[in-house]
Symmetry: C2
Amino acid sequence: MQIKELLQQQPAEQEVIVKAWVRTKRVSSSVAFIALNDGSTIHNIQAVVEENTVSEDVLKLVTTGSCVAVTGKLIASQGQGQAVEVKVKSIEVYGTADPEKYPLQPKKHSLEFLREIAHLRPRTNTFSAILRVRHALAFAIHKYFNDNGFFYLHTPIITGSDAEGAGEMFRVTTLPAINPPLNEEGKVDYKEDFFGKETNLTVSGQLEGELGAMALSKIYTFGPTFRAENSNTTRHLAEFWMIEPEVAFYELIDNMNLAEDFIKYLVKYALENCGDDIAFLEKRLLDEEKTKKKEEQSEMSLTEKLKFVVENTFERLTYTEAIEILLNSKAHKQNKFNYPVQWGIDLQSEHERYLVEKHFKKPVILTNYPKEIKAFYMKQDEDGKTVRAMDVLFPGIGEIIGGSQREDNLEKLIQRTKEVGIPEESIWWYLETRKFGSAPHAGFGLGFERLVLFVTGMSNIRDVIPFPRTPKSAEF
Amino acid sequence: MQIKELLQQQPAEQEVIVKAWVRTKRVSSSVAFIALNDGSTIHNIQAVVEENTVSEDVLKLVTTGSCVAVTGKLIASQGQGQAVEVKVKSIEVYGTADPEKYPLQPKKHSLEFLREIAHLRPRTNTFSAILRVRHALAFAIHKYFNDNGFFYLHTPIITGSDAEGAGEMFRVTTLPAINPPLNEEGKVDYKEDFFGKETNLTVSGQLEGELGAMALSKIYTFGPTFRAENSNTTRHLAEFWMIEPEVAFYELIDNMNLAEDFIKYLVKYALENCGDDIAFLEKRLLDEEKTKKKEEQSEMSLTEKLKFVVENTFERLTYTEAIEILLNSKAHKQNKFNYPVQWGIDLQSEHERYLVEKHFKKPVILTNYPKEIKAFYMKQDEDGKTVRAMDVLFPGIGEIIGGSQREDNLEKLIQRTKEVGIPEESIWWYLETRKFGSAPHAGFGLGFERLVLFVTGMSNIRDVIPFPRTPKSAEF
């Protein structure tokens, strides 16, 4: 039985076996108290070893990080902080952890240090909590879509196309790294490569997702995506997971409704299913905030922030309206923004944060952006200037969802591919969905790690994925 | 409302709007019958257009493959084969499909042809059924693990390690394809590459999965994996999805129990949730079988095969026992096997099929294989010759699951890495889980597409993944 279940048992001196890792051991007047954790919950179970029940030789091996099977009776706890504890009969040591060498001694470790031992950090309270919340959110995503008639579509990871028309991509190849075969023009002869063409890691499953939606009506993807951007920030990963629903017959408003309902469901699911872990992470965040200056401290606790998202209607306005608000803001008038504000700009993080955190004080959905700053596949508005894009902006996170209604008119779509320089022959299959049985449709992308950041209250994206991939870093 | 729901409504002349693609249109004494499908179900809904309700100009555009919104009343069907139908009031054509050009005209298309139009094939009955079953199986996987206390762990896709110690891998790089930077030895200077080292696409998430299990106890992965093998067979993909549970404190027998329970759950889930699609695929398979010689035809229908797996206890025996059976078989004595049989060989497909399909006539779990033919991380048996491996063999499919108890003894593990030539420094983090708090643990890998093959009764793995990646093929 796992510790999560054990802690919910009625203690009746029943014999139990706990298989777990030792978090701490302390000895008080010849009684040893061992805190055990098996990762099933943030809570430890306490094993109490009375004098002469376990040999000194064995007890000596029971140190922080060692792995043991403890047999004993489940009894009501004498001490505070737990309802039950184990009165130990015997201990089998599966694996020791030399206190001189084991890096996770019971003291505070910096997140930076823990990143260097990503193979061990899931054994800490913080990372096990994050990983359990991450799991719960992933499951909630599948459950939401399944319950709502969406089909999970596995779009390809290796691809010859570039959905955004601009992403920096990783090349996937089996050609020799030195002296690859060349063609008559002296260029690399990708005909000789594994797939007979140049291939890359996908930056988005959207284009292929649309193919699915144009047959199954409601699909979603949930898979890894890649950006070879040399960005060493707290917000970027070279490898991250993305969720992309795509729905036939949806227009922009349906898309907004879906995004809002979806993300509220996810946050609610986490609140309902990860209460213990969120409570722990909230306390962690509170301790961290205390080290900040007063004015930089968050006004809300983690739980309050999460409930705020669930309970509030997202503010919806157009990009044009947002620019008006920014132009009329004190921040703009007092030259507090680092980047200029005018219609046509790509909003900067400072602008988005102003709208979300200062002006509306709630999540915001911005729509109808200028077409020049958005992707070629977005449906053009009648004004000829804007497209039916939508970005969902969250406090602290910025853009958490980006989506749009898609251009379903073949001529207009071809026109845009020409303007942005995408060769028609490279996406003939995408264009054909507009040629044969075209339909209005819409969808969006949710960066999974940004969602996990928001729900866990962590601030560096490298701390919410088990093994982060960033420039110059692909260990483990 | 989607067609799946509409077909379950009580017809009461309520107004409905059906948004869907036209499968067929036939006209009979000035009444047009339109079969509509939106991918939510294998079943079409019939729309009946009586004379003079819809203009000829519009009706002309309603051809196979076009996309329409049909408004009308839901009435009890006059014809056979459906309970309800739509009495049409008006039709809006979203997108036409020129009958001269649209490739999916209502006739039988070969699977080979459909592979060339993978962007459109989800609009066929066969592929929409496969994709719905694929979705249901994926969801069942997440549900099973979530219900049983496993955490979904996202192991890295880009990796510097090679879990199998031997796989042919795809290189991931941002270095120039021609004239990459060289180091002093004249070799490619991977320090200059994006990750500062040579990186590849993962062949398995197991090693990282073990790291998770050694902290959270019960984890699983479900992600894409890659093999750069130049195999053009009906069983191999360069990119495929794999499920890999890993459990601390599990030994080989627990691992077998988990594998059997898990796969039975999945098949049962499909039977209970995809009845209509499986019935369609069963009929398709029956038609296909009829074109075969009598002796090559399957004795069981698709549903019978699936129920057979759910209802039978898998046969469990050691590799050594299996070799005995093969040596004593008529097939061996009459030299019917193409490959020789003796202790120490890697079993060939013909041997596995003999055991499963001829000898036991049910799924088989083989265990305790010779260590030389298995991976370095498998736990060594006391005899010094075999390891605690297990392969689950299925009729028609062969190996559907491969797993093992893992070597948890640091010295023995290091010994094996030396024997197979894996540098210790390349997996220092893996070794450390045996150094600090080691524990017995076990896990396995299930090839998702092989499972989908089995449940759908399809015979080519390229037909059970939306966009197959194979040598010289990465279109879409």
